[in-house]
């Protein structure tokens, strides 16, 4: 087990409001960690900090031992951090296959010149990307939709495609923002299997935000609970859901 992503004392303020403070997290290879908390607890803010969309005002983030502070999101993707979104953000007008290819493309080695003038190296890489993209779609059972515009897929398939697209960037860490949002019971179960499967197949660390407690306790090995931007509990699923602080946050005080 090697540490991949490490956030220490991470915090961000918007004006006077501390959205997140003192956030600590360590992700190792093959970890599957859940990040839960009531609405507005700062879960998505944590994702935005880890992916470089927001710059933290305090603390540090390290990826494989190197600081990644101040790096732009597209740079972080190249270093191995990928994510999906709470509200699906596929390129809806572009085909399913191209959605995945775009993500693969920008890991390519070929230069601007060779892709503009279509040098031999370009064709070779283009071919291998096509193959890789289709393989990835097969993992998610999406290859039959490959020429559909992404926006025309059924909702559940769009969620899967978003995960496939994130995986195409060849991540070391995958952040899933409410992957089961809007899914029914069966779809959620299917998704749980998929998440477990990709963790094992691609050997990556996964951090997921989720409201569906069944999903979180069902697949996460560790859970971190946020409330008002602070960690109030961290540990094994059973410990966390029996933690009085967590119960209070979710169900309110007894009195």
């Amino acid at each position: 087990m090697t540490t991949i992503l490490k956030a220490s004392d991470l915090g961000i303020s918007f004006g006077g409001l501390k959205a997140v403070s003192g956030f600590n997290l360590t992700l190792e290879t093959n970890d599957l960690v859940g990040l839960i908390g009531p609405n507005g607890a700062g879960k998505t803010t944590v994702f935005n900090l880890l992916t470089g969309v927001y710059q933290p005002t305090e603390g540090a983030i390290e990826l494989e031992g190197h600081s990644i502070m101040g790096k732009t999101p597209h740079h972080l993707v190249k270093l191995g951090i990928a994510r999906t979104f709470q509200n699906i953000r596929l390129f809806k007008e572009i085909t399913v296959l191209d959605n995945v290819k775009i993500a693969f493309d920008h890991q390519m080695k070929t230069s601007l010149l060779s892709s503009m003038f279509r040098l031999p190296g370009f064709w070779k890489e283009e071919k291998s990307i096509e193959t890789k993209a289709i393989e990835l779609l097969k993992v998610f059972n999406l290859e039959k939709y490959r020429y559909y515009s992404a926006g025309n897929l059924p909702y559940g398939q769009q969620r899967k495609l978003e995960i496939a697209r994130a995986l195409a960037t060849d991540p070391k860490v995958l952040l899933l923002d409410e992957p089961a949002a809007g899914m029914n019971h069966t779809e959620t179960h299917e998704l749980m299997d998929t998440i477990r499967f990709i963790r094992d197949r691609f050997n990556i660390a996964i951090l997921l935000i989720e409201h569906d407690m069944q999903l979180v306790t069902g697949i996460c090995e560790k859970i971190t609970v946020l409330d008002y931007g602070k960690i109030i509990a961290h540990g094994l699923p059973q410990e966390v859901i029996n933690n009085p602080n967590v119960i209070r946050v979710y169900l309110g005080d007894d009195d």
């Binding site: 992916t51 969309v53 732009t72 597209h74 990928a82 953000r89 390129f91 892709s115 503009m116």
Partner: protein, 294 residues
Amino acid sequence: MEFIQQVINGLQLGSIYALVALGYTMVYGIIKLINFAHGEIIMVGAYIALTSVSFLVQMGLPIWLCVFVAVVFCAILGILTERIAYRPLRNSPRLTSLITAIGISFLLQNAFMLIYSPTPKPFPKMVTAAPITVGSLQISMSALLTIVISIVIMLVLQIFIQKNRLGKAMRAVSEDYGAAQLMGININHTISLTFAIGSGLAAVAAIFYCMSYPLVEYTMGTMLGLKAFVAAVLGGIGVIPGAMIGGLVLGIVESLTKAYISTQLADAVTFGVLIVVLIFRPAGIMGKNTKEKV
């Protein structure tokens, strides 16, 4: 025959509008900015081509090479205006960048007036070949070149946008730049590339324009830019094939109006066409009907 002749004239003018309209529509598609300085790029292209012609003649090189000089210069100018004027405003209200674009437009106009003086300058004849005669139809070589080269450029551009990874990155950024960034796409590079292509096309348009109206002056970009903007809106702003179709439609309408209705009414009719199309198809000919979100 007279009618076909007019349609060919219209296609020639329309190709020029289309090339310029592409610049408006691509920039709008990617950063939702109506780049009112785009018309001035045509003027800059024309002046740069004119200046480079005298150098090329001195060096004994063919004068059509001025196209490349103008394209490269305008592409760099396009990248620089985005970098200096629009990028710092990317997250500010859209009106701010719009006003900035108008400011850049004045800046360029006046700078070139200072450099080259307000007197219009003649543009040397680039095409000397005799017109082609088909039956009673006479097609000038410059018309033929304008139409054919424009169509080739548009096809190449369309393939680039659809197939090339940089073209796909442009489409991805225009749909959702946040998500594009998280797919590893460098949005700053992609936006720079868009400005470079748009401005390069404007430079090509400038030279085609000077082939049929061989006078270069510092205000020449204003009306041409405005018409091309109308073409982009007519076709559906943000939609690349729309700009091409809008440009050609506008050119043909203008040329037919001049021939059969009145030369003086030509502009009124072109803008009238815009109004009528927008009443029935508010998003333009090829525009997507986006539903108003409540």
